[in-house]
């Protein structure tokens, strides 16, 4: 398959792994920001090809994982309101709220529907004028343009029965937050290619300069990730810290301007609570005043309360890259995908789920 299979050839993977080994003279700790990259690393055993000196740690790049529990609780409350149809992406269904999850709410009779895009939720609103249709808008900069477009379209059509529960987050402020934490050990980043396809990477340049970390915009195929690691290590070995673009087949420095324009028209930058990381200033998107009528928090009451620190789950430390999933005492015993203690074990993109799915029992090296 063009644009995929050529990024999965074993010979090229081996060549990259050898090249990385040749230039590595000491230990380096890199963070892959995106949950999709974490998954690919585990699925293809990419970390097993790297020299022992390279430690990959997993970042907060799973949109489901970083959504605070209060938003799940709010979504559950809205789904339980008579006359409401709650539309959501599939991976939100099993994320535990304080007392339940959306899959259980659906089983008890709530009208919760899985959609593949917010435009589908809009269609549900058109088909059911007597219902309040709420779309749970979760995600990074990758989902924001389509979510913004749905709101924009709803406004143009005068669809009064449509609203969005917004938990949209932005990656660069989270990277800054991680670098500013005491005891930070991240020396380089593989930035998420899909996010940068929308935003470009100008915003990453001051971060790389100020914190003296190389940041390599990286794709999701095995060879993308290996090349991203190579470029990152090469900068570290040379004492450089700039932004490089490994994923040039999809990412341009200025990003996708029309997508940015619709985001900027519909959303405004707001402070956001991140699961495991607390509130980060200017790290999220909320509906701008002109579109606030479509905000589910306006219609159903605001999300309140603070996140975190509940129970035995260490997902906060996993999301901050402080521990590896299998270093959590509950991993694979009291916490499994069937009985998850936290969201990092639930989400397809979650680091704990990736470890459980691909690495449990195999005894392969994980470089940390």
């Amino acid at each position: 398959m063009k644009y995929r299979d050529e990024y999965r050839t074993p010979e090229a993977a081996r060549a990259y792994a050898d090249a990385i080994a040749r230039i590595t003279t000491r230990p380096w700790t890199l963070m892959e920001v995106c949950g999709g990259q974490t998954n690919a690393i585990m699925r293809f055993g990419i970390d097993q090809l790297l020299p022992q000196e390279i430690s990959l740690i997993h970042g907060p790049g799973c949109p489901v994982c970083v959504t605070p529990i209060d938003y799940i609780d709010k979504a559950l409350e809205i789904a339980g309101t008579p006359g409401v149809i709650l539309c959501t992406f599939g991976d939100m269904l099993r994320v535990p709220g304080t007392h339940s999850d959306l899959a259980a709410a659906r089983a008890r009779g709530a009208d919760v529907r899985v959609v593949y895009s917010p435009i589908e939720a809009l269609a549900v609103a058109r088909q059911h004028p007597g219902h309040d249709v709420v779309f749970f808008a979760v995600g990074f900069e990758t989902t924001a343009p389509a979510n913004a477009m749905a709101v924009y379209q709803a406004e143009r059509e005068g669809l009064e029965n449509f609203s969005v529960l917004v938990s949209q987050v932005l990656v660069p402020p989270a990277i800054r937050n991680l670098l500013e934490r005491p005891g930070n050990r991240i020396q380089g980043f593989l930035a998420a290619g899909h996010v940068c396809a929308i935003t470009g990477y100008e915003e990453y340049e001051p971060i790389a300069r100020r914190h003296r970390v190389p940041i390599v915009v990286t794709g999701f195929e095995p060879l993308d990730i290996l090349e991203g690691v190579y470029l990152c290590v090469r900068q570290l070995e040379r004492g450089e810290s700039s932004v490089e673009n490994q994923y040039s087949r999809a990412v341009r420095r200025p990003g996708n301007k029309p997508a940015q324009q619709v985001m900027q028209a519909v959303f405004e930058v707001v402070p956001r609570q991140w699961r495991g990381m607390g509130e980060i200033p200017e790290s999220g998107l909320g509906l701008s005043p002109a579109y606030r009528a479509f905000d589910a928090e306006t219609r159903f009451g605001a999300v309140t309360g603070q996140d975190e620190g509940r129970g035995e789950c260490s997902s906060g430390a996993v999301l901050r890259g402080e521990i590896r999933p299998d270093q959590c005492p509950a991993f694979g015993t009291r916490c499994t995908p069937e009985h998850p203690l936290g969201v990092t074990m639930v989400s397809e993109e979650g680091a704990c789920a990736a470890y459980y799915r691909y690495r449990r029992q195999s005894g392969g090296p994980s470089h940390e």
Binding site: G90, D91, P222, P337, R359
Partner: protein, 348 residues
């Protein structure tokens, strides 16, 4: 129309007619439905006798299985619920090393289901049964109120004569036994998902729904030492493999590069965040055979269209019971596990 009045045939104009509660009431409407639709379609002496059950003459070991079919939508590219209900049960019997012979069919119909749809489904079942040489010899019909079912559900049970000279089950698998896969995986699950979610795919992905009894019987007839067989339905190859390895008390190793996945199926899986190893099939199976029989078994399987793309994908070996590892495309290794929960599309 006055339901069940008997003054005209309820199927006279079945483009407009729908299933009514009376069709399940045990009275005249039901009798007319059975006489005009089911008996002619399934046409065999056992049904003609109109008895409460079928009396079968079977000697020796019998394989017996049952399954229920609740797929939505009822029709999807490449197949439909009727053909699935026949092939699924036939395939389960074949996996026991038996020749499928007789099926029962239980229908749960939703009030309001157009009779034209029922006719299509029954016709498809009858065609699948003819093609696979099984007889549908007894059945049941219930009607539930509108809104209580997705149009119709089917339960089929089946029996077949065991032809394998020794048990075919996970307990027979030994270290060193090889694992054959009868063709590409993932087509059925993606075809149904694409139809259900109205994904507008450029290429038509059709279900692989088919009977896999002929190649299995050919293996047995030619004396291949089959240790175990498994059709790869819900949970896909991964779940079947883990289950067999667990029961056998062995580990298994597979090579991802050798597992055929069609390009369009693979693309949709990438898009939706699904692992093809977890996606359902309806015409695929894995066969565990003794190492000395591998080449001959592949040769026999490749003579049948349903298994013409059979490949050797790995082997069983001593190790943690149920631990299945895959050598990844780029040379790393990973654990292959059962599917957790239901398959759900991801955000990004």
């Amino acid at each position: 129309m006055n339901e069940g009045s008997g003054d005209h045939c309820p199927l006279a104009n079945d483009d407009q007619e729908v299933v009514k509660m009376a069709h399940g009431g045990g009275g005249r409407a039901m009798a007319q439905l059975l006489d005009s639709l089911f008996r002619p379609a399934f046409d065999n002496p056992w049904l003609e006798r109109q008895h409460d059950g079928a009396v079968l003459d079977m000697a020796g070991a019998i394989a017996f299985t049952t399954d229920s079919y609740v797929v939505r939508p009822l029709f999807f590219p490449g197949s439909d619920i009727g053909a699935m209900a026949v092939h699924g049960t036939v395939n389960d019997i074949a996996m026991c090393g038996a020749e499928p012979q007789y099926l029962s069919a239980g229908f749960i119909l939703e009030e309001g289901l157009p009779l034209a749809i029922l006719r299509r489904v029954v016709g498809s079942m009858a065609a699948a049964a003819r093609e696979t040489g099984v007889r549908i010899v007894t059945g049941d019909l219930k009607v539930v109120e509108r809104g209580k079912a997705d149009g119709l559900y089917i339960n089929t049970a089946g029996v077949g004569r065991v032809v394998a000279p020794h048990p075919i089950e996970p307990g027979q698998v030994k270290p060193g036994d090889r694992l054959l896969l009868s063709g590409d995986i993932g087509r059925h699950g993606i075809a149904v998902m694409a139809a259900r979610e109205k994904l507008d795919l450029e290429s038509a992905i059709e279900s692989d729904c088919a009977s896999i009894a002929p190649p299995v019987l050919a293996l047995l007839n030619e004396g291949i030492a089959i240790r175990c067989l498994r059709d790869l339905t819900r949970g896909g190859l991964a779940s079947a493999l883990v289950e067999v390895a667990e029961t056998a008390g062995l580990a298994a190793q597979i090579r991802e590069a050798d597992i055929p996945v069609r390009e369009d199926v693979s693309a949709v899986c990438e898009l939706l965040g699904l692992d093809p190893l977890h996606v359902a099939n309806e015409g695929r199976f894995m066969a565990v055979v003794a190492p000395e029989d591998v080449d001959r078994a592949i040769d026999i399987l490749r003579r049948h269209s349903v298994s013409e793309a059979t490949v050797d994908i790995g082997l069983f070996l001593e190790g943690n019971a149920g631990l299945v590892t895959a050598q990844s495309l780029i040379g790393g290794s990973r654990v292959v596990d059962r599917l957790s929960g239901e398959q759900l599309p991801r955000i990004c």
